[in-house]
Every structure is written in C-alpha cells, then in structure tokens.
Amino acid sequence: MLEELTAGFPILSCILFLPVLGAMALWLLDDEDMVRTSALAITLVELALSVFVLLRFVPESAAMQFAERVRWIPALGISYHLGVDGISVLFVGLTAFLSVLVVVYSWDTIRHQVKLYMMCLLALETTTMGVFVSLDLILFFVFWELMLIPSYFLIKLWGGGAERHYAALKFVLYTLLGSVFMLVGIALLNINFHQWASLHHTDQSYSFDLLELLSAPIPMDQQILIFWLMFMGFAFKAPIFPFHTWLPDALLEGPIGMAVVLAGLKLGTFGFMRFSIPLLPDASQSETVVTVVVVLGLCAILYGALMALVQPDFRRLLAYSSISHLGFIVVGLFSLNYQGLQGSLLTMINLGFSTAGLFFIAGFLYSRQQSTQLSAFGGMAKQVPLLATFFLIIGLASIGLPGTNGFVGEFLILLGAFKAKWWFGAVAVLGVIVGAAYFLWYYERAMLGPVGKAVKQTMSDLQLREMVIAVSLSVMILWIGLYPSPFLRIMNGSVQALVDRLNHGTVAALESPAAEKGR
C-alpha cells in the first residue's frame, strides 16, 4: 500500500539543498540589498518548487511520492532516502511559504550582519525541509540536529532580548537533551530490525529506513521503551507541557523570524505523526501511553491558555498559546482515530499560518514600539487600523473561529478526542473558551480603547512589505477555513493508512510460532 512513486527528477533534493547552496552563494555577495534580493529570490524559487510538488502530488494516496533513495552507509543500513506523503508534503509547502515571508519580514527589520542572518535563515530552511522529507531515521536525525545550529545563532545574534544568550543555550540544550534520547530510540529500532532481519534471513541486516522499519515487528515492551525515548525527543522539541520552558524564552528573546519558524513549524508533533505512531502502533495505543500523553496534552491546553491569559508580553502570550495549541495537537494525535489525526495534521499546518502570523504581527508591533509589552500599547487600532484588522483576523484564526483555518483543525481534533474518550474532548473544549478569552482580552487592551500613553503619535500603518505578509497569511487562513478540501484531499490517503496501521495494530503477532509455521 505504501509503495513509493519514484519520479525521475530529484525534485526533493533540489528543494532540500537549494537554500543551503543559496546560502553559500550569499557568502560571495557583499552588497546588503543584493543579499536581501538574492535571499528572496532563493526562497521564492524554493516556494515555486514546493508548489510544483504540491501540484504534482497525487492526493488521496498513502504512497511515498517523489521518492529518492541513495545508499549512504550501506553497512549500517543508512540511506539518503527522501520522499513525501500526505503527512509531510504540506509542511514542505508551509516551510517554503514561511521562509519567503520571513525573508520579506527581515528585509528592513534586520540591520546588522544581514548576510549572515540570511545565510542562517536559509540553512534553517534546508534543515527544516530535511526533517520533513527524510524517510531515513538517521537522515532525519541529521537534519533534526543540524537545525539547532542556525537556530542557535539566530536567537543568539539577532535576538532582541537581554537574556538571549541564555535563551539560545537553553533552547539548544533542551532540544539536544531530548534528541539524544531519541537517538537511542532510533538505535533501538535499528537493533530490533537487525534482530528480526537476522531471524528472517533477509538481505538488509541493519536499516534505519522508515519503510523498512515499518515492516519489522517490535515486541511490546520494546515498543514502549522506544516510544518513551522518542517521546522525549519530540516532546522537548514540540514542546509538550511540562517540557516547554525553553519556548517562551526562545520566542521572547529571539528575533521574530526565528520565532515564526519555531512556532510555525510544529516539528515535534510532526515527529509523532511521522515516526512514533506508525512505527510503534501498539505502544501508541497502550492505555498508559495514551492516558499519560493525552493528560499532558490536556494540561498543556489549559495551562497554556491560563498562562497566556495573564501575560503582559505579547510574544510570551503567543508562546503559551502555542503550548496550548500543541496540547490540542497532542490530544488529537493520541485520540488515534481518523478525525484526531487529520485534525492534528491540519492544525499543525494551520498554526504555521496563524501562530506564525501572530508572530509577524508581534514583529510589526515591535518595529513600531520597540516592545511587545502591553504597557507600550493601548488603542493602537486608532493609529494603525490595518494592522489591527489583520491582527484580529489572524488572531481569530488562532482561536479557531469558524470560517478560518483554525476552526477546521480544532473541530476535527475535538471531534476525534470525543470519539476516543468523551472526557478528552470535554476538557479540551474548555481550552476553546479560555483561548478566546486570552486573545480577545489582550487585543482589547492593546488595540482598542483610547490611545495609550506610550503609543507614538507618528506611527505609520502597514508598509507594503508588511501588507504582503499579512495579506498572504490572511488569504491562506481564509482559504483553508472556507475551502480546505485540497488540503484534506492531500492528507486523507496517508491519514487513512495511518489509521489502518493503528487498527491492524501489532505486527508482533508475526512473532508467534503459529504464524511462523504458517509461512
């Protein structure tokens, strides 16, 4: 069922390496405007390629498409294996899209070391893309880890906060801590495959290939162990409550561009969907795992929302709202039914527009007031009506107003949660209420009412570049909100395959002697 559709032209490799090669090319440029233009051109080409992939993608199919596979370290079963299916292909587009916007945003907001910044940004794009398109666990891990480097420097060198060094280090250490555990988990998968393969006399004795690992049964206790190990990696990255404390710091101290990528691309939860659940279906379905993870998710929903309620800093608020949203995603994922998975996947994409969009808004605010603290705002709508409008549109998407993309995802998640266990959904619904409360309350205090004392009188409304960002985000938000069908069609096949895998459950049945005899 999950056969690979191999296209002739290695378009995924092109997508993958275009930004980093572009970054190297930027090295040669000196003129700052030239650097900006080139970076924009690169990201635009990347976006065009991604759109091409999306257009050529065969929807309603679970197959790995545009697959490329080159043996890398054959002896260990490591290969350079790329491919996209319904789960990952949207992220490719999203990454490319956000990268363009970040470059556009950074055009005049980044004033020092522009070249280096753009290079870091492009490198980050490559690594992020790599995470999404890798089908080999080691390759995935490679990009997963490499991502830390540009992120670290983006936070450290271009962050606005005083604590940015601390935040950068915290981010990197936190993520690394999780990912080393994940590495162990990956190694265990490999070992398990090796044992299975040597029992069944197949050619490949070691493999890190996702598709091959899927074919090997894993004993239950092993699955649980691996699940938790991988959980560490993904949970730290996601971040899932209570592993989240790096996020507010990183988002607050880092530059907006970095925050957009960090908050917009839900790598951790993608990891769950891509690796944990399909590879470890039995563990993912086990009572303890589901309960623990979902309870964490529910805690995150409420905790994040309540925290967001009292944050005076908009970026901090966004960080906690992000945590709250991740709670939704986790709950959806571990509802382990069609709607839950689909909703989570869609929500991951959605947040790429809405949360990322709010960070852009925060950036717009920041570039006007040099702060995202509430004390710097008040009655801004009078001064910057357009900004206020887009703020509201994107914000409403983030709280899941019907008609915006947020609703579709959230609705599916809640539906899935209800299907799984009614109280999952019942608790999660509370998040919807508080979600509206924190956003609107902040919006009210920042944007509405009489013009605040600290608000500068000579404040301009959105510039052209900012308009481009805001409008394109809004268009996407409304598109997915009103006509999500193309997106749903793309993901349906893979989600169905995932659900089937979960339903058919364990492959460990193969291990039983009867099955052995049968063959």
Partner: protein, 568 residues
C-alpha cells in the same frame, strides 16, 4: 613503490628531522619548508595508504619486516590493518596541519619542528608496529618529545603568571604546590606528563615482558604471539597470569588514553602545550592508548579481554561524566578542550568495552573523528592564545568580530566535537550507541547525556570566547587571513565533514580490521558479514526484498529468504 608506503610515512618525518638538524634557525622559511615537506610526504603516503588499503582482503597489509635481533626475537615489523590505517592517516593529517598551525613560532623554530616531527613519527610508528618491542619503543619515544615541547614552547596558566609576588612565588614551591590546580607552569605540566606516562608505560612494559617470557616463543612479534601464545590459566599469585598481564597492559596503556582516573596528566599537558603539540597529543597520542590495548590485549589475550573488558565499561562512565563536568567548570580554554578530550575518550572505551562489531568500529572511527575535532579546537584555541596571550575565559569575549573566520571554524569544531550530524563524529557516536546498547544500556544513557553536557560546555566556551562584550585589550587581535593560517583548519574541517558525509570507505576499512578481531574475541562467526555493504556503494537501487514494504506490517510481503545462511 606502493608497498613501501609505511616506510615513507614513518621515516619521512625522521628524515625531515635529520635534515632540520643541518639547517640554521636563521633561515625560517627553509626550516618550515623542510618540516612541511616532510609532513607532506608523510601525508601523501598515508592518503595513498588509506585508499590503497584493500578492505575486502582485510588483514595486515603493506607489511615490512626487518630483523633486528634474532636471539631476542625482535624485528622492525611494520604493517597496518583496518584499525591502524585511519589512525595513521589521522596522525599525518594532524602532523601536516600542526606544522602550519605552528608556522609563526619564532623561538627556536628548528628545534620545535624537529621534536614535533619526531613526536609524530613515533606516534605513527606505534600505529604500524607489529612487534611488541617496537610498539613500546615508539610509544616511549612519543612521550619524551612532549617533555621538551611542553617545557620549552609551552604556556603557563593565568594564575601561574599572576603569581609574581613573593607570596605567590613561595606558593609555587611549597605545600601550596599540592593545590596548584589552576596555577601550573609548563614545566610542571611537562614533568607530570612524562613521569605519569612513563610510570604507567613501565607497567605496560612489564605486561609485554611477561607475555614475552611466558609465551615461550622468544619473539615479540604480535602476529606470532597472537596465534601461538597461550597464556590462559597459568596460576600465579592467586590469580591467573593472563589476568595480571591484561591488567598491566590495559592500565599501562589506558593511562595515555586517558581512562578515568588516570586522566590527571592530560588536561594539564594539553593546556601547557603549544597548539600543534596539543593537536597531535590530544588528537593522536591519546589514541595510542586505545590502539595499544587493541593491539596487545585484544589481539594476544582475546579470551581475557572478553572477561575483563567490563572494567572499561564501568570506568568509561566516570570518564565521560567526570571529564564533562570538569570541562563545564573550567575557566581556561585549553582545560575545557583537554577535559572534553578525556571525556570523549570515554566513548571510545565504551565502544571497545561492548566488544561488538558495530561498537568497536564505532570506537575506531571515533578515534579518527575525535582526532580531527579536537585538532581543530586546539588549533583555534592556540590561535586565540597567540592573539591574546591568555587562555582565561572570563577575560576573553567578543572576538567574533575580530576573527570571523576563526569563530566560524570554531563552531564547526564544536559541532564536530559534539557529534553533530554531518561530521564523522556523528557516525562514530551512533555506531557506539547502536553497538553498545545491548550490553551496556546504562552506559549508553550516560553517554548520550554526556553529549548534552558536551554541548553545554562547548557552547559556553564558544560564548565566552567569541560573543558578548569584547575586552578592549584584545582589539589588536586579528583573524586568520593568510592561506597558511587557514589551510590547516580547512583541511581538518574537510576531513571531518567529508568523512561525515561519505564515511563508506572509512567504515569498510575499519570493519575489515575490526571483524576478525571481534570474531577472535567472541569466537562467534558474525551474522552480519560486512561483505554485503562493502562492494555496493552509492547505488540508487532498492534491494528487491525491500521495494514494496507495506505500511500495514502485519501483512508483509514475504521477504525473500536468504538461502546461503541459516536454515541448516
């Protein structure tokens, strides 16, 4: 021509040293030129060696044997297997780069280069010795030049330099000397290093001599000894002789590795040494320990190794955590790197202790990888020291504006040291983890946490070196701009990243050396014969068995049974 590669590699530095004796210090370019060309010859020959080594054939290749004393059974027996080859390559790369790193040494440059060449040559000699006598000979020979290199061209710690008052001077020479952790003179470091290593070398020597005596073969030849020496179960002193020998050899050589708690010499030594020496020392000299253990203990006492290796597995944990912690706390660039090296050597021991194809290959690759990574770091720490004349982290900072190239390379070095994917360290790390998990899960967990720790202290160092506010005192510091300055770093980065992305040949070579060794130790024919992976390289085809792998795996496509193995 090709079969004499080992001789070129080994004797080119010696010849260079001899030639240097003839020239005067007043012609610095000539001095450097001779040193560099000697190193270059060695490098070219080792690259040739590395790529000419036939991993399919395996075993010891390029063997040269010259009788030295027939009565005593000593001969200059040279040869490399899959384990020695990459290490020889690493040594000559570090020698070559070390020459360039120390390009700007003005004080007695000739002598410096002579000793550096001898040091490297001796190191290389160990990696290719197939004779216990010469192995020990080169081993000791590599220790002695360190004394001079440290004592003459080394640097003092900050605290030591600050102790200029009468009180401090008194402290240097009194009971205070006992607690002089942060205030070492280079002489102290040199003395400590040489005495420590010599003392433990003597233990190793005793082991070697016991092997010689009790094997009853009247030969030091490893190839003969490993086939014919039967040292098992000779009762002595309440235990068996082989265990005594093993312990002597293991700890004797582990001191240079350095295995906790025998590490105390190493950070001091690294810190005091000039950059090139640190590079060579941390890069390859420490690997002499592992290599010698593999050569002597693993080859000659396989069964004992199997029994006793858990010792290493226990100690390596301490090594990793302890080194990491101290590195985290250290305030001196080279101390940080030094302790990080001693921490990282714990990974190698872990890989060795698991006694498994993957993990031991990982350990060997880690040695190679660490040589490059730590070489880079020391080279750059040396550059910073040359520019600022201090290794004190708190007083440094903000240098990235002054030296963007160096800071960029430093990042790469740090990443390599952490084992960031894309560098060969990552390959090694993952192999060690994969290989050791079955046997030592706890250690693996400690090891991966050690990675986090590594990142913590390296990033901390990076920050305090290159970022933050800059001390105006160092405003004259400048970047590496000339080719000569950049070349060594670029070479090491290229090697590290190159093998990180294309590790196939390295892996094949190492596997060809490791496989027979492990087979000897575990006495089990490997299921995973590396033959599968060796021939095929970079092919885009998918093996037939795995082409259609279903997602729903409880209904898999029947996998083609392999007829040649199993089923009997």
């Amino acid at each position: 021509m090709g079969e004499y590669a080992l001789l070129y590699i080994l004797f080119a530095p010696f010849a260079g040293a001899l030639a240097l004796i003839m020239v005067s210090n007043r012609q610095p370019m000539l001095v450097r030129g001779i040193a560099a060309s000697a190193a270059f010859v060695s490098l070219i020959a080792s690259v040739y060696l590395f790529y000419a080594y036939d991993p399919v054939k395996g075993g010891f290749q390029f063997v040269q044997k010259f009788e030295w004393s027939r009565q005593l059974g000593i001969s200059l027996h040279l040869g490399v297997d899959g384990i020695g080859t990459p290490l020889v390559l690493a040594s000559s790369v570090l020698l070559f780069t070390g020459i360039f790193v120390s390009w700007h040494i003005r004080d007695r440059a000739k002598e410096f280069y002579i000793w550096l060449l001898i040091l490297a040559a001796a190191t290389i000699g160990v990696f290719m010795s197939l004779d216990l006598f010469f192995l020990y000979f080169f081993y000791e020979m590599s220790v002695i030049p360190m004394y001079l290199l440290l004592g003459m061209w080394g640097s003092h710690t900050k605290q030591y330099l600050e102790m200029t008052d009468a009180e401090g001077l008194k402290l240097r020479d009194s009971v205070g000397f006992i607690f002089n952790f942060g205030s070492n003179s280079k002489e102290y470091a040199a003395m400590k290093l040489v005495l420590f290593l010599s003392a433990f070398a003597v233990a190793a020597l005793m082991g070697i001599l016991l092997i010689y005596k009790y094997s009853g073969l009247d030969t030091f030849d490893i190839l003969v000894l490993r086939e014919q020496a039967h040292l098992m179960n000779i009762p002595v002193l309440g235990t068996t002789l082989d265990k005594i020998i093993w312990v002597l050899v293991f700890f004797g050589f582990a001191s240079i590795a350095p295995l906790w708690p025998l590490h105390s010499w190493s950070p001091v030594g690294h810190a005091a040494a000039p950059a090139a020496t640190s590079m060579l020392h941390a890069g390859v000299l420490m690997k002499l320990g592992h290599f010698s253990i593999i050569r002597v203990a693993f080859e000659i006492l396989p069964e004992t190794t199997r029994e006793m290796m858990p010792i290493a597995a226990v100690l390596c944990m301490f090594s990793i955590v302890y080194g990491g912690f101290v590195a985290f706390y250290a305030k001196d660039t080279k101390y940080v790197i030094g302790y990080s090296s001693s921490s990282h050597m714990g990974y190698v021991f872990l890989g060795m202790a698991a006694l498994n194809y993957i993990s031991l290959s990982g350990a060997v690759i880690y040695m190679f990888a660490h040589a490059m990574a730590t070489g880079m770091l020391f080279a750059m720490a040396g550059w910073v020291y040359d520019q600022t004349h201090t290794r004190d982290l708190p007083s440094l900072g903000g240098l990235s504006n002054k030296m963007p190239f160096i800071s960029g390379c430093f990042i790469v070095g740090c990443m390599a040291s952490i084992g960031m994917p894309g560098t060969v360290n990552f390959i090694a790390e993952i192999m060690i983890i994969v290989g050791s998990w079955e046997k030592y899960p706890l250690q693996v967990i400690v090891a991966v946490l050690g990675i986090v720790l590594t990142m913590a202290y390296l990033f901390k160092m990076m920050r305090s070196l290159f970022y933050g506010p800059m001390n105006q005192k160092y405003s004259h510091a400048h970047d590496a701009v000339s080719v000569v300055d950049r070349l060594p770093l670029l070479v090491m980065i290229a090697v590290s990243v190159g093998f990180g992305i294309f590790p196939m040949h390295l892996y094949d070579v190492v596997r060809s050396g490791v496989d027979p060794l492990i087979a000897r130790i575990t006495q089990v024919v490997p299921v995973a014969q590396s033959g599968d992976g060796l021939g095929v390289r970079g092919e885009a085809t998918i093996p037939p068995a795995t082409r259609h792998v279903p997602l729903v795996a409880n209904n898999p496509v029947p996998l083609i049974p392999h007829l040649s193995r199993g089923n009997e």
